[in-house]
Symmetry: C2
Subunit: 349 residues, 2 copies
DNA sequence: GCATCTTCCATTAACGTTAATGTCCGCGAC
DNA sequence: GTCGCGGACATTAACGTTAATGGAAGATGC
């Protein structure tokens, strides 16, 4: 039943050959007669031989495996990223070891240890950000690392991400062009570069247009970072914050939200006050989630090339793995594009 | 720079000990003096020794790795499932090798080969369904397999999934209770058990209530299964089908959709005809996606315990890995629950 | 004081694979 | 006839770890 897994040795003994000859025959190397090769292949087929990657990796010094460390797969953006990484990695012949950190620095530290032990060839990671940098250990161990989506301050790591600043800038410029003057942002309360980038882009656009950015214009939505694994709370949280906003006398005439879930909470709060989108308030999302184009009204949003980020990061990582030169850190920023829909389009009749 | 990775041998030579002594010292085994143990641990720390899992796995015959095969991570359900599997797997000390099939039988066959080569201890898989059963190869190789979410007809595999039939039954009963009589379904055009289960539950509820189920009541939304990796097309596809439905003379007074994306397309088609939800048509979703509670109107939907399915599947798999008895296949069905929201609630004033 | 038991470590072998050498044999060249 | 050469295989070693066995020195028993 649970018969031992067949090895090269089984084939060798059955055919009266040496193990090495069998190995070379199956690997398609020279110094093997056509007859022997045929025999070996037939026997391998017959007993269902499958090479053992562990042993192979041990002697070759490479497991053809990449580590992929994600904070949470439930985020649609990361879900697509995972997809891109897996597909592109497979193209290069690599397998994916998936680790989830749940935004916890402790788990992240453990993940680094796991990757070191597993002797992966390279690592793609979305860092938790905030505390120390556990990723340097990979560097000293000689394992290439490419950070994805979030960069770390040191700046010494390779990085592939999205120009969040530009995306927010474009969205803000668009809102201004649509006539908005008092524009506010709704952002999650996390110390990560993606959020900082969006706020910077927002400020830049406002400043260039000569519009003021009062302190209250950047509202933070309280996060429950470590409480729950999934993300369904995001609309609720933004709803609470949005309720407070819509009641104010200096209510904004446009709101940029950090992700499209937030737009849902905002939509609800606005609807409850009888405020219409876009007539009374423009709403601009970020991420262009699959549902965004089908909301009422359809939501203008910044589309993020998640899949492409994953694929590009893999390409860079594989390049690093192949020629282990200590080239200077490379930073790749993919550009998002604004998808304009009715939530930000005033029908000027 | 790219110094060779330190091994047990490095520690042994530095301390004038044998490799085996070092191994036993670090493993916390007996027959090692306290003094030696301290020395070994200190030296290991100093040179940054990390055990090599490959070598370890080779001799122990177990890599402490599980394979996870998913059709597409972009589906919110699978995203959460992945999350549950990873977290629960880690609790048991296992790493996750992630493979994505994109609903392709060819890729799936390749995935099985990869898993065999990688010598994983067990496999969790969402099978593509439709053609042959490539998973039997794992069985003959002695690798435990637990199918997740979709079962295969043979019935010989372990399986952990959701009682889709019950979920659809509950939703249908609820719709009937809300006064609906002409109830239709909108389902993806795929030959998979999850969809068949939903249709069966729908039919059962209708039959029990003495309501007819004409052929046209089960509408299929054309799928683009292999065309595109992501899923954002789902609302569009359902929108097209829904347009045809709302124009009919025998328009249904309630519609059950196969997933909440479909509800978006339906909402739009209804709104364009000036039909109101729930007043003119009740809408019931499936999956309870994160956005569903925040649509206008909030969508009644069947909530699926995706995370729990993943965790439960891991538990079963780990049990199979530990005691490799050839026990009969086990089938676990987790029960979904209906989340009632305004889209199916007639306000009888 | 000799046998016996512990304690603590070394030696050997094994996991399954690949790379580097060795070896035998037949054949053509001169 | 001998030399050299290349084809086709075998032998040996290595990857880094763990398990099984071996053995030397000191402690203990009487």
């Amino acid at each position: 039943m649970t018969a031992r897994r067949p090895t090269l040795r089984d084939i060798a003994e059955a055919l009266g050959l040496s193990v090495n000859t069998v190995s070379r025959a199956l690997a398609g190397k020279s110094d093997i007669s056509a007859r022997t090769r045929r025999l070996v292949e037939a026997e391998a087929q017959r007993i269902g031989y499958v090479p053992n990657t562990l042993a192979r990796s041990l002697v070759l010094g490479s497991a053809m495996t990449l580590g992929l460390v994600i904070t949470t797969p439930s985020n649609p953006f990361y879900a697509q990223l995972i997809h891109g990484v897996e597909v592109q990695g497979r193209k290069h012949g690599y397998s994916m070891l998936l680790l989830v950190t749940d935004e916890s620095e402790d788990i992240e530290k453990g993940a680094v240890e796991s990757l070191l032990r597993a002797a992966v060839d390279g690592v793609l990671a979305v860092p938790v950000q905030g505390g120390a940098d556990p990723w340097q250990r990979l560097g000293t161990a000689g394992i290439p690392l490419v950070l994805v989506n979030r960069d770390l301050p040191a700046g010494r790591h390779d990085f592939v991400g999205i120009d969040y600043e530009q995306g927010a800038y474009d969205a803000t410029v668009h809102a201004i062009g649509a006539g908005a003057r008092r524009i506010w942002m709704l952002e999650e309360d996390l110390p990560i570069t993606t959020i900082a980038g969006r706020i910077a882009g927002f400020r830049r656009a406002m400043t260039e247009a000569g519009l003021p950015v009062p302190d209250e214009a950047v509202r933070s939505v309280p996060t429950r970072r470590h409480e729950s694994a999934a993300l369904p709370w995001q609309p609720e949280e933004s709803y609470v914050v949005a309720q407070e906003i819509v009641d104010r006398a200096d209510r904004p005439d446009a709101v940029l939200v950090g992700n499209d879930y937030f737009a849902l909470g905002l939509y609800r709060a606005l609807a409850e006050r009888g405020l219409r989108v876009p007539d009374d308030v423009l709403v601009l999302g970020y991420g262009d989630f699959p549902f965004s184009g089908f909301l009422t009204p359809p939501l203008t949003s910044v589309r993020l090339p998640a899949y492409e980020v994953g694929a590009s990061a893999v390409d860079l990582l594989v390049e690093r793995v192949r020629n282990r030169s200590s080239a200077p850190a490379q930073k790749r920023l993919l550009r998002p594009d604004l998808v304009v829909r009715p939530s930000s389009t005033l029908v000027t009749s």
